[in-house]
Symmetry: C2
Subunit: 439 residues, 2 copies
């Protein structure tokens, strides 16, 4: 590890590595608890958060065999109203923070799940039964009812469900809003320094993590270091020996479009479609734009082209969105974006402290919060809340299943899934279509 | 007209209004004839030239009833080799101009015309007979032969023709190359000032045009003023009274893609397809990118959104390009662009001097060069050559049909089409499919 340029070193209570939505949310939660925070990122908000559509959809995103994740998603969903309210600009002030905050774009309009062909209908009906079995509320609509709610829906759709609990936020506005709040963190009782650099490795003091060294040689001394830098997390130097963070990029293409005046509002609900077996969603923003996503590709178009947009992906999105909503053809294409999401082997985050190899205690000073895959925006308030609890010496046994050492032999003996083993349990609700819908 | 700020006025031999490829070519031709030139544009190269694919395709672009235009296109095509060679950087020099000039991207590889379904085959066969009747060389290939030339062509295509005379250039590199040559115009014997402003109106001295006033109040005194600003031409103040320049925007969407290393070269020929009656073309550049175009829309997506990209247009291009070349799905989408091309009622340019209303003489000091529609890049060297002839007091009777006053009652008695009147002539080669191919 490089010798830090000690004259410019920084000391804080909490160093958060990674300035996506999750990193920002953790920094904000720590700062408003009264802590001094440093948020380290050389390109804040430019990773997976930049591409995210911002659906807050615990019900729609329920995937078979992911009940633990469902519990975390529902927890996050319950935190969202207060989290968004806490970021609302102070109306008594007219300073920059208030100016920046046109709000986070948090909207609680419902989601419509729409199927196109009979197989899509069967898949969504199967999913609805899984959702109902998990106590989630999904209301079946007739196609006529759906079209009276959303008149521009194609007459060719085969089924519709209304999901009141699935909402949305605008990740870019959210990020700008948290960043603005962090600038004024003193008002919340803490402080936050934005450090535009890249973390190169962890600093250790005997057996605890004591901060991070940046690629410019500066060291940040921190009581707690939180690794929230998505796909980059596994590349840090100085991780606990033997800790395996099996993150892989799952690439997604997404497009942003502007709705011409004569077509506004295009939609009032978020529409999640299943179009001949392929998922697509259309998220209407309150600024007259819509976001259409998202493909899932495990392979980049080419090595070293992680942010390359797939022509085939954009074609698929436009094709399938038009099957749900023919007027998509009349929109203005503003932007095509692709990013890699940090996927994990079980699609759940790596979230918590790292047990040392004896399994008796945790590595002090270190918290991992990465691998949020498709759920980073939804889970951000929960990740922030869980990280703060850990900083306060508390931990919630419900989230032990997400401990970051669970894929590292010898690190974690406590990863016992609470749902039945798929190979042995009766799985009456699992259908092939579901599996296809949730690859 | 505003009073010019005479202290900063400029005097030149030639003022060219409009810095697209046509304006640049005219400025270059004038400068290398020894003239002093001012080229006026507040955003050079950002209009239709920015979107153009750069096909130099007199044969493929032959449209029924446009034989006059064919003659001009063939003239332009014959000028291209020398025009491009004249722009080649001076290899003995290592200065900026030579650096800038990675060349113009002028490539003389052939074009393949490809049809997908039986109706496309019939349409292309009809077109081939029209081309042959006009003395143009088109070689019919078997699909097998076409796929041996271009192995990535879809096995599903129905016919293929090889057109050796249709070439390509990269309009953005061309424009940069002409601009670099203009900076060093003294070497060619003239001078050129780039004026980053917008022309507001013509200046008159008695009955002749004596230059142009800019929107910043500065006047350019010029012996010849050339109007080459595309769709903006008709909006200039001080046009000859009664002169009607009926330009309308014909919008087009175009995409640029990067070919991953494992798919290079995607194509060696330019491919022009007819896919279930809809034209699409795929132009491979020598830098590993391809351009796919181009839609034609007469209506903007919304008022004041002339450069808005149509989501439906991009979808159509990706769909039809994949029908010709399935590997398009595996490319990286770099850019979606839309621009309005300056269309005219007869699809031919407004090119030449303006007759005064007596019909006996021309308005002195004024040359019009606009309305090049789909053909601006191909026709640029011819436009430049014709404009220089006019400046030298010469004129070629072949181009009288393009005189800019032909749509203005009283301006022009000489617009007698040399091809037969479609209502009365026998038109055995006109088929419905052709008409659909060339809307």
């Amino acid at each position: 590890m490089r010798e830090p340029a000690s004259g410019t070193d920084i000391s804080v209570d909490v160093a958060v590595i990674g300035g996506g939505v999750v990193g920002h949310a953790i920094a904000w939660e720590a700062a408003r608890s009264g802590r001094s925070v440093a948020l380290v990122d050389d390109a804040p908000g430019c990773g997976a958060s930049w591409a995210a559509a911002g659906m807050l959809a615990p019900v729609s995103e329920l995937h078979y065999q992911e009940e633990d994740l469902l519990e975390l998603m529902l927890e996050a969903s319950s935190l969202w109203p207060e989290f968004a309210a806490g970021l609302a600009p102070d109306v008594d002030r007219t300073d920059e923070a208030a100016e920046t905050a046109a709000g986070t774009g948090y909207i609680t309009t419902p989601t419509l799940a729409i199927g196109v062909d009979p197989a899509d209908r069967r898949a969504l009906d199967d999913l609805r039964r899984v959702q109902a079995a998990n106590g989630l509320s999904v209301e079946q609509l007739t196609v006529r009812e759906a079209r009276s709610i959303e008149p521009l829906l194609s007459p060719g759709v085969s089924c519709a469900y209304r999901i009141a609990a699935d909402h949305q936020v605008d990740p870019r506005r959210l990020l700008a809003r948290i960043a603005a709040a962090l600038v004024n963190a003193e008002r919340a009782g803490g402080t936050c320094k934005m450090i535009p650099a890249r973390a190169s490795g962890l600093q250790w003091e005997s057996d605890r993590v004591a901060g991070v060294v940046l690629d410019n040689g500066i060291a940040i001394h921190a009581g707690e270091t939180v690794l929230a830098n998505g796909l980059g997390t596994g590349n840090l130097n100085g991780l606990p020996p033997g800790l395996n963070l099996p993150l892989r990029p799952v690439y997604g293409d997404i497009i942003r479009l502007r709705v011409p005046a004569h077509l506004q509002p295009l939609l009032s609900s978020t529409v999640r479609g299943l179009v001949h077996g392929v998922p697509v969603y259309i998220v209407p923003r309150d600024d007259g734009t819509v976001v259409i996503g998202a493909t899932q590709r495990e392979v980049a178009l080419e090595e070293d082209a992680a942010e390359a947009v797939s022509a085939g992906g954009i074609y698929q999105l436009l094709r399938d969105a038009q099957a749900l909503l023919p007027a998509v053809a009349e929109l203005e294409l503003l932007e095509c974006t692709a990013r890699g999401r940090p996927g994990t082997p079980d699609n759940a985050p790596l979230l918590g402290r790292v047990q040392d190899r004896t399994g008796d205690s945790d590595v002090l000073g270190l918290i991992v919060a990465t691998g949020f895959f498709r759920h980073g925006i939804l889970l951000a308030p929960a990740a922030a809340s869980i990280c703060l609890q850990l900083m306060e010496g508390r931990s919630d046994p419900r989230w032990a299943v997400f401990q970051p050492g669970r894929f590292s032999p010898g690190f974690s003996a406590s990863h016992i899934p609470r749902h039945p083993d798929p190979a042995t349990a009766a799985t009456p609700l699992c259908s092939k279509e579901q599996h296809e819908y949730h690859p």
